[in-house]
């Protein structure tokens, strides 16, 4: 019993370390005082920062841009990342495989400033060379985000594909199914949970990114993190606390819902598998 004491204490402290800053933001978002960290007890709690937030068209516009970019990024990254994951786990050796594998893992750790500058210089050179992309804006942000987000999706898909062997796919191919049919009827349903979590991961990565966006954004295409960053650099402001609280709330609800959904799906699949096995035996 004494042995568990130290590690559980550390776990508790670590979790406190992770959650106290978030909780303090939530608490102070209801504080009336402009001096973010001094609690103005006679007039608090108040919703005034939430009201002010909803009146701020600049932040709302930036949030809309971020949602659009993140949705496009997530969709693009899931498509490209699934193909890359499939190619790397199921296609056996081919020329350039090591290079493809290196290009899909490097973005995971590459410092964002390097990726950002590289992307911007590419877009500038391309525009000079072929006139595309014209200027910089949502398109260039989305392309840059897809490129680093697809690396994460590739890892998620790869580890899901590595989790089960390819006997089902082999069997279908032996029975004469075309590779495309095998993919859509067998592989895709099996890796669907990985695609869902990959999509959510890519969405969050894009929604969260400030450094790369800052390099490749153009005038009038500020994302929400870019707006927040420029505000926060000028000093703390209480409406950012309100914004943080709303975002934490949305994420918490989303994560809980998707976890419940995944659990249910997993249970359903297990049940079906058991039934299929029973039917097969009987």
């Amino acid at each position: 019993m004494r042995r568990g004491w130290f590690r559980n204490g550390m776990l508790g402290l670590g979790l406190a370390f992770l959650y106290v800053p978030i909780l303090s933001m939530i608490v102070f978002s209801f504080n009336n005082s402009r001096l973010v960290t001094v609690w103005d007890s006679p007039n608090s709690p108040t919703l005034r920062w939430y009201v002010r937030l909803l009146e701020n068209d600049q932040l709302l516009g930036a949030a809309w841009i971020s949602v659009l970019v993140a949705a496009m990024t997530a969709t693009g990254a899931v498509i490209l990342g699934t193909i890359a994951g499939l190619v790397l786990t199921r296609f056996g050796p081919f020329r350039g495989r090591a290079f493809l594998s290196a290009m899909t893992t490097a973005p995971l750790v590459m410092p964002e400033v390097i990726t950002g500058i590289a992307m911007l210089l590419l877009f500038v050179s391309l525009e000079q060379l072929i006139g595309w992309p014209e200027g910089r804006g949502m398109l260039t942000i989305t392309i840059a985000h897809i490129t680093f987000a697809m690396a994460y999706v590739t890892v998620v898909v790869q580890s899901r594909l590595a989790g089960f062997d390819d006997v089902l796919e082999e069997a279908a191919l032996d029975l004469g199914a075309r590779p495309a049919t095998v993919f859509f009827r067998i592989t895709l349903p099996l890796i669907l949970p990985a695609l869902v979590s990959g999509w959510l991961l890519a969405f969050t990565l894009s929604w969260d990114d400030v450094v790369i966006s800052q390099f490749v954004a153009g005038p009038g295409s500020s994302t929400l993190p870019m707006e927040i960053f420029s505000r926060v650099r000028r000093g703390v402001s209480p409406d950012i606390n309100a914004l943080a609280t709303i975002m934490v709330l949305i994420v918490a609800i989303g994560v809980v819902l998707s976890t419940l959904y995944m659990k249910r799906e997993e249970k359903r699949r297990e049940r079906e598998e058991q039934m299929a096995r029973r039917d097969g035996n009987g």
Partner: protein, 305 residues
């Protein structure tokens, strides 16, 4: 005949499927580095696009002339500002990585030794903050560390200190910011390693009279080395180039390399020097990045077995 056509079709289909992600990553990930490399050798130019062409056609001699400019790199070596910034960035990243390991290891260990049902709950609690905005989580620390922030106010109220401490805009604040933001990246690889350990080894050690501390240092720690290396690389590599955390929490008299790079790029608009800084940073991180890739490959191979 039909069979041959089908084989050909499959062959082309396969090439096409491989080609799509290949083309994308080549165009948007590999080639950009070559462009950065190229621009790091060019002269700065006040007009668009901000750098002079490397190769130009000279009419009189009917020849291509290359105008290479090595001074962007010479600046990095000569100017003590750059050297100091590089060293400082490595120092900050290294200290933060060690702190992250010291905080993360016991947490990963505790989770891995939990009953399986609570394990998933704790893992979710570790990952959950990662899903909320990174920027806002760093911002939260400003409110905690400020001179009249939550920490100082609490310590003053408890009578532990009678003068507010300077916590914000220090090295300490940057360490906290990095440890806080990157902790899940340390814990997850450690957890996935620690979870796989064969606990009978520890029982055998205990039967042979080893103390828990001894068997931890002789069995668990060596076995978890791959997880430690992976977690440290996942924290250290991006932390060296970190830009948001030092610019919100860090010192103003000593910048990190990511901050200098973006200042050169956006402030001074000197794209060639900014490119040279990026290339130097990349070369410095090449070995850690390759180590990380080797780890990643092994992990996937192990998963397949």
């Amino acid at each position: 005949m039909n069979k041959a056509l089908e084989t050909l079709q499959v062959w082309f289909g396969k090439r096409l499927v491989i080609g799509v992600p290949y083309f994308w990553l080549l165009l948007f990930f590999a080639i950009p580095f070559l462009i950065v490399f190229k621009i790091s050798f060019s002269w700065m130019q006040p007009i668009q696009p901000g750098y002079a062409p490397l190769f130009s056609w000279v009419e009189e001699t009917q020849r291509f002339v290359a105008t290479l400019n090595f001074s962007n790199y010479e600046v990095l070596l000569d100017d003590p500002l750059y050297l100091g910034t590089f060293l400082y960035s490595v120092k900050v990243a290294a200290i933060s990585t060690v702190l992250c390991l010291l905080v993360g290891y016991p947490m990963a260990y505790a989770i891995a030794r939990c009953p399986p049902t609570t394990r998933n709950l704790f893992l979710m609690l570790i990952i959950l903050p990662f899903w909320t905005s990174f920027l806002l989580r760093v911002y939260a620390w400003i409110g905690l560390l400020k001179t009249n922030g939550v920490i100082n106010n609490s310590l003053l109220a408890l009578g532990i200190i009678d003068q507010p401490l300077t916590l914000l805009y220090t090295d300490f604040a940057v360490y906290i910011g990095i440890v806080y933001s990157y902790l899940p990246f340390m814990i997850l690889p450690l957890y996935s390693n620690l979870e796989k350990h064969d606990l009978t080894l520890l029982e055998a050690a205990a039967d042979l009279g080893a103390s828990p501390v001894k068997s931890f240092f002789w069995i668990t720690l060596p076995l978890s080395m791959p997880g430690i290396v992976a977690g440290c690389l996942l924290v250290f590599i991006p932390a060296v180039g970190e830009y948001v955390i030092p610019s919100l929490l860090g010192r103003t008299d000593q910048l990190m390399i990511g901050t200098v790079l973006s200042a050169q790029f956006f402030g001074a608009r000197n794209w060639p020097v900014a490119s040279a800084v990026a290339i130097a940073l990349l070369i410095m991180l090449l070995i850690p990045i390759m180590l990380f890739q080797r780890y990643q490959r092994r992990e996937l191979q192990a998963a397949r077995r």
